[in-house]
């Protein structure tokens, strides 16, 4: 098993521009079942051997798509997310970076009570190694296995995954939830999915400074997660009051510091790695029962 995406995923690509097309091709090469694309105004054409549609509703009716990946530019991305949800897409993965915060607040409000999951925005997406790749991560660094990975970052997630694969440790699913302050799926929701997955034995949680999602995740783990969790927090050396690239990565007063997050993780029984170079080794130790 795995979470969110697998061999049955029927993927739609919203925003079939240069980037969308490139990553759709990579996803197809990886073995993901890609069923079509959406580009308003270009419906009736084709991309990568599958039909292009003007609307998501039209695409869903024709292809039975259940998952969508969004490459639509930031000014229009929130609308694209809402369109996907309105059309009944169950899993929406938004790669787009730079969406205004208030747009995402509106999307979240629109989603309330609807049966849909949003991953991102500003995220690398989701991959269940060997089954489906719905994101922009390099497929070849992954390996099928039993470690679940959750992260707010892109390349740092690849770094962690590569450390695992280098040690022969495979992954069940890797989820990049994105670096924005307001997004869809959060750590807690993602942890509950992994907890319910019979094929995930260990979870790696990669957080970063800003907000309080890591503290909430740590408290949730203590109560509800039976799997061992290895945690890392990026930004231990970051100054306060500065936004470290990700819109969400800002230490605001005493809140959101790496120290507070690490303390919360340790208090709640996580194995915390201080150096980003040590994530793979820490998971290996947990799997060997050394901790």
């Amino acid at each position: 098993m795995s979470i969110l995406v697998d061999e049955n995923t029927r993927l739609l690509v919203q925003g079939m521009g240069r980037e969308g097309r490139f990553h759709a091709e990579q996803a197809v090469d990886y073995g993901t079942r890609y069923v079509g694309g959406v580009n308003p105004g270009r419906g009736g054409g084709a991309a990568l051997g599958r039909p292009l549609f003007n609307t998501v509703a039209g695409a869903v009716a024709d292809t039975g798509a259940d998952t969508s990946i969004i490459f639509v530019p930031a000014p229009f991305a929130a609308d694209a997310i809402c369109e996907a949800i309105d059309a009944g897409i169950g899993l929406v993965v938004c790669i787009t970076d730079g969406i205004p915060v208030l747009d995402m607040v509106t999307v979240r409000r629109y989603m309330a009570g609807k049966d849909a999951t949003l991953i991102g925005p500003n995220c690398p997406g989701v991959i269940s190694p060997g089954k489906a790749k719905v994101g922009i991560m390099p497929g070849h660094i992954h390996q099928p296995g039993r470690v679940g990975v959750i992260s707010r970052s892109g390349t740092l997630t690849y770094e962690a995954v590569a450390q695992l694969t280098a040690r022969g440790i495979g992954q069940s699913t890797c989820v990049g939830i994105g670096g924005d302050p307001i997004g869809g799926l959060n750590f807690v929701q993602c942890l509950s999915l992994f907890e319910a997955d019979a094929d995930t034995d260990v979870i790696v949680l990669i957080g970063e400074i800003g907000g309080s999602a890591e503290e909430e995740a740590a408290a949730y783990i203590a109560e509800h997660v039976s799997r061992p969790v290895v945690g890392f927090i990026a930004g231990q050396s970051a100054p306060t009051g500065r936004r470290m690239g990700h819109a969400g990565a800002i230490i605001d007063g005493a809140r959101g510091t790496a120290a507070s997050k690490i303390a919360a993780m340790e208090e709640n029984g996580l194995t915390v790695v201080r150096s980003p170079a040590g994530i793979g080794a820490a998971v290996a130790d947990v799997l060997d029962g050394n901790t």
Partner: protein
């Protein structure tokens, strides 16, 4: 993005929010003229810098004559104002705001911001105005009242009625405050603010609420739809290297250390800073060249790092995903052929075509210190920084001769 108080007040005034009459001035003579135009007998001269805590730093002066306005403006302009938020070096005052003096019966606090955990805007109100709100929150949490705003509904009448009912003010003031709070939310929403803070929000002796100080910050991601706001940016308040980096599409934040870093991706960039620190070094910057990390961006990144005189070594840490490491290596070699790099450069690349990339660095004829992984990179950085002997810089005379040959 931050703006000055006088700019924030202009925006609020345009939206019908009551603010004191006033105008900005860049010289003592202009300040005097502004006060004369305002008329009256009392004025306030306020230093315009982006940092807060100006009152504590002596940046807000009350003047009882035009001569005093001129004198205070002359003292503030050109001086470096040190406040609890500027750091010891202070911030140069280039403009002052000259305002009419107001009679204050009571000081309140009000702010609007995005509550991440709730995923909604929040309105915070307190009778403890004119004070540091973090202190109030810590010592007197019972004096802080808040409500969340449903963006589809807006800030509803019943919400503001309920909120202002908590304040120790009479019914007439409550009736006057409610629409003011809704106007403030209207500005927050219309302009894509990330913060709109009014401290203090005063009540005059005749029960009129007035916005006496205003701090506005904007969502950088939304500036594309607010050209008027984007035009208010004051580069003089920002680090010149950061301004230059932004022009090159690089996310760069200057820090106080001596190890420069060039990384792709924000999370990995933070982790790289961490690994430098764990190795006993100190990062000179945060720099995300983005997923693409093409030759132009790397060249500009080197140019910015080399402009920082504290940089004694550079660590390049790139994880090639979609980006191929060999292509990236060629970009780096091209970049360093155009920028004078006279410090040691440690390179760590991983991911797609990493072997090929490492070979290109090794065969470049330059003194790249190629690291195997992040741990090794950290060790090499530490070695370079702590070694009593001079470490080989990227280029020496030999390189130039080779290059010309």
């Amino acid at each position: 993005m931050k703006i000055h108080e006088h700019q924030a007040k202009t925006i609020l005034r345009e939206h019908g929010v009551p603010v004191p009459a006033g105008s900005s001035a860049a010289s003592a003579a202009q300040a005097r003229q502004a006060a004369e135009t305002l008329g009256g007998e009392r004025w306030v001269v306020k230093a315009q810098i982006h940092a807060g805590g100006r009152g504590k730093g002596g940046g807000i002066r009350r003047a009882a004559s035009l001569a005093e306005v001129e004198q205070y403006a002359g003292q503030l302009l050109g001086s470096r104002l040190v406040t609890p938020q500027t750091g010891p070096q202070g911030q140069e005052v280039r403009q002052v705001l000259v305002e009419e003096g107001c009679d204050i019966a009571q000081e309140l606090y009000c702010s609007l911001f995005i509550d991440r955990a709730a995923g909604q805007p929040a309105l915070m109100l307190s009778p403890a105005g004119g004070m540091d709100i973090e202190t109030v929150a810590a010592d007197h949490p019972e004096k802080i009242f808040r409500t969340h705003v449903d963006v589809l509904l807006g800030l509803a009448d019943f919400q503001v009625r309920g909120l202002v009912a908590n304040l120790p003010v009479n019914a007439a003031v409550q009736r006057a405050l409610a629409p003011l709070l809704q106007q403030l939310y209207g500005v927050f929403r219309a302009k894509d603010c990330s913060l709109l803070e009014v401290n203090p929000l005063i009540l005059t002796p005749d029960d009129r609420p007035v916005v006496l100080d205003a701090k506005m910050q904007f969502d950088d991601n939304a500036l594309f739809r607010h050209a008027d706001v984007a035009a208010l940016r004051d580069p003089a308040e920002e680090d010149p290297l950061e301004v230059e980096a932004a022009a090159y599409d690089l996310t760069y934040i200057k820090l106080s250390g001596n190890v420069g870093c060039i990384v792709n991706g924000a999370g990995l960039a933070m982790a790289t800073m961490d690994v430098i620190k764990l190795g006993g070094g100190s990062p000179a910057n945060f720099l995300d060249v983005g997923g693409a990390a093409n030759a132009d961006r790397v060249e500009n990144a080197f140019r910015i790092l080399m402009a920082d005189p504290h940089v004694r070594a550079v660590l390049i840490n790139v994880f090639g995903g979609i980006l191929r490491c060999d292509v990236f290596a060629e970009g780096v070699l091209h970049a360093v052929s155009k920028v004078a790099v006279e410090v040691p450069v440690i390179v760590r690349i991983a991911g797609t075509n990493a072997e090929e990339g490492r070979r290109l660095f090794a065969e470049s004829g330059l003194n790249f210190l190629v690291a195997d992984d992040m741990a090794d990179a950290a060790a090499k950085v530490s070695q370079v920084i702590h070694s009593p002997l001079p470490s080989p810089s990227l280029k020496g005379r030999g390189f130039m001769a080779q290059d010309e040959a």
